[in-house]
């Protein structure tokens, strides 16, 4: 006898059955076959938003692609180019069937020409390949990098081109892979959609908040005793989400990964919602939370991040390619305690110069991270400009 009772509140996604298909059906029920309008109604009512970073309402995206003339392409994005993120990898190893269910449900309802799950080069594809057997979909293991998971860069790779972004003037929902309308959804979004399709919008909304329903996966790293992936209600406080990982002397938390913003330890009771995080210039993004410990220099950390981001530029767009290394160099000088009072202003000038001037949001995200760093750690910056570091309580080096 199979049971189809909905999973417990905050273990909706992570309590998967691995590659075991029979156990998956026993726990979650058979794969539902939904017509497009029924699926759209359920997803719209659920209020599901993308879990890949942009948080865009999923129903709107699906509707845009399904409304096209040609048969569309559906892509599951598990590229996870952000080094601090591992939620998609964990989800795909624990619950590959649920992610693939989401892909199949969409592909059927939209009469898709192709359904592809895209994973990165370092990903252990064995469980998902096993789960994909017998399903009408492809698993593509592609080249990685920070920008490779960007929507248009992924579409380019699937078209056999280099993994760099396209000019966003033409949206992939209109013309993407093979010139067809293309729906790109994060792997976790697909899993959430598979749950909505089975248990309905009302069930989905029984977790989270009215404005931001459901649960979400968070990857927690840094100064914590037990780093890893946590599933929590949307709208939980930062403190509650971090609790299972046991933070160690936190000074601040980077919310949103390398393109995110800082929440100082005084703000740990902030709810992880768009509205409350706006005050910090942050957003939930892909649920990446990195805890900076009290003994670490935030400017040194930031310089390292921007150096990494500069190196990961796709190198197509002049402002990003040239501006980011300048910002990285200036931040490194700042972290080193260089007594040059013009450094913060110069970093801000270069930030204003690169923002919005590129084919993707790489420079914009970098600018957000840098601006947050200089703002939240303002006192720190002042100290560094005088030659010493408060965090490490010695001369900056």
């Amino acid at each position: 006898m199979t049971t189809t009772t909905a999973p417990v509140l905050t273990r909706r996604l992570l309590d998967g059955t691995g590659a075991d298909g029979a156990a998956h059906v026993a726990r979650y029920g058979m794969l539902p076959r939904l017509r497009l309008d029924d699926l759209l109604r359920a997803v719209t009512e659920s209020g599901l938003t993308g879990r890949g970073g942009a948080g865009f309402p999923t129903a709107i995206k699906v509707r845009a692609v399904a409304g096209g003339f040609r048969r569309p392409i559906v892509v599951g994005n598990a590229m996870e180019g952000e080094p601090l993120s591992s939620k998609d990898a964990v989800l795909l190893s624990r619950n590959p069937h649920l992610v693939l269910d989401g892909l199949e449900i969409l592909a059927r309802a939209m009469r898709a020409k192709r359904a592809v799950l895209a994973v990165g080069p370092d990903f252990d594809a064995a469980p998902v390949l096993a789960a994909a057997r017998g399903r009408r979909l492809e698993v593509a293991q592609l080249e990685g990098g920070f920008v490779a998971g960007q929507e248009t860069a992924l579409v380019n790779q699937l078209d056999g081109r280099p993994a760099v972004p396209r000019d966003p003037f033409t949206r992939v929902t209109e013309s993407g892979v093979d010139g067809r309308p293309t729906l790109v959804l994060n792997a976790e979004t697909l899993a959430q959609l598979a749950l909505v399709a089975r248990y309905g919008a009302e069930w989905f909304r029984s977790a989270g908040t009215p404005e931001d329903a459901g649960t979400s996966l968070f990857t927690i790293s840094g100064s914590v005793a037990r780093p890893g992936v946590v599933e929590a209600d949307r709208g939980s406080t930062l403190r509650d989400v971090l609790a299972p990982t046991q933070p160690v002397r936190p000074a601040a938390v980077l919310v949103g990964g390398y393109h995110g913003a800082w929440v100082p330890v005084s703000g740990l009771d902030v709810r992880l919602t768009q509205r409350e995080l706006t005050a910090y210039g942050a957003s939930v993004g892909a649920g990446v939370l990195h805890v900076l410990g009290s003994g670490s220099c935030p400017l040194s950390f930031a310089a390292g991040v921007v150096e990494y981001l500069a190196g990961e530029s796709a190198r197509q767009c002049g402002p990003c390619l040239n501006g980011l290394p300048r910002m990285a160099a200036d931040l490194r000088r700042l972290a080193a305690g260089t007594r040059d009072a013009s450094l913060p202003a110069e970093v801000e000038r270069m930030s204003a110069l690169v923002r919005g001037r590129g084919a993707c949001a790489h420079p914009d995200g970098t600018v957000r991270f840098v601006a947050s760093t200089l703002d939240v750690f303002r006192a720190h910056v002042t100290a560094h400009l005088e030659g010493w570091c408060p965090m490490t309580a010695r001369s900056a080096s």
């Binding site: 760099v164 796709a314 190198r315 197509q316 767009c317 390619l321 040239n322 290394p325």
Partner: protein, 191 residues
């Protein structure tokens, strides 16, 4: 005007249009290199350099059409229509004339792709445009070999000046200081 005068006039027109076209293509190739360099030319500006490069090329192309047209109707040249498309079939100086035919073929491809560049995209446009470096020497060789004026002092002088200009421009094009349009930049990934 007698028939002989008319034929003489056609012959002169044929040669004249050819020579002027060659000069215009020389100007165009040099301006093309200056335009690609991104350097600002006083009074013209970067956009003016591009505009003039294009105008010179199109005017030269128009003159080549006239050049080919007058020669088609010239009884002394003894050319058939096929000679304007397939090289080396003519009875009069087939090698040098054949080069002219090849130049016309190349010119046709380059011109058509340039006029349609918005449709074919930057990569195809750029690749085909490289053929201008083959087009110019072919046209020059054709002029030196089959042109009746090739032996005259003024034409030789003109040819030397044209060759000199193009050599200097191409030399600059190949030099390391030419790169990145004159700015201190990281090189972009293209296509």
């Amino acid at each position: 005007m007698t028939h002989a005068d008319l034929v003489s006039a056609l012959w002169a027109l044929g040669r004249g249009t050819g020579v002027v076209a060659l000069v215009l293509f020389t100007i165009s190739i040099v301006l093309g290199i200056v335009a690609r360099s991104g350097r600002r030319v006083p009074w013209l500006g970067r956009f003016g350099t591009s505009d003039l490069h294009r105008t010179a090329a199109l005017t030269g192309t128009g003159l080549v059409v006239a050049h080919v047209g007058t020669l088609l109707f010239d009884p002394y040249a003894q050319l058939k229509l096929v000679d304007f498309v397939f090289p080396f079939l003519a009875t009069y100086r087939p090698l040098w004339l054949g080069l002219g035919t090849m130049a016309v073929d190349l010119l046709a491809v380059v011109t058509i792709v340039s006029l349609l560049r918005q449709r074919v995209g930057p990569r195809v446009f750029r690749t085909v445009h490289w053929a201008t470096y083959l087009l110019w020497p072919t046209a020059l060789a054709h002029a030196l070999g089959s042109g009746t004026d090739a032996g005259t002092a003024w034409f030789r002088g003109l040819a030397v000046v044209c060759i000199g200009l193009v050599t200097v421009a191409v030399g600059w094009r190949l030099s390391p200081s030419y790169a990145d349009r004159g700015w201190l930049r990281h090189p972009r990934r293209t296509a």
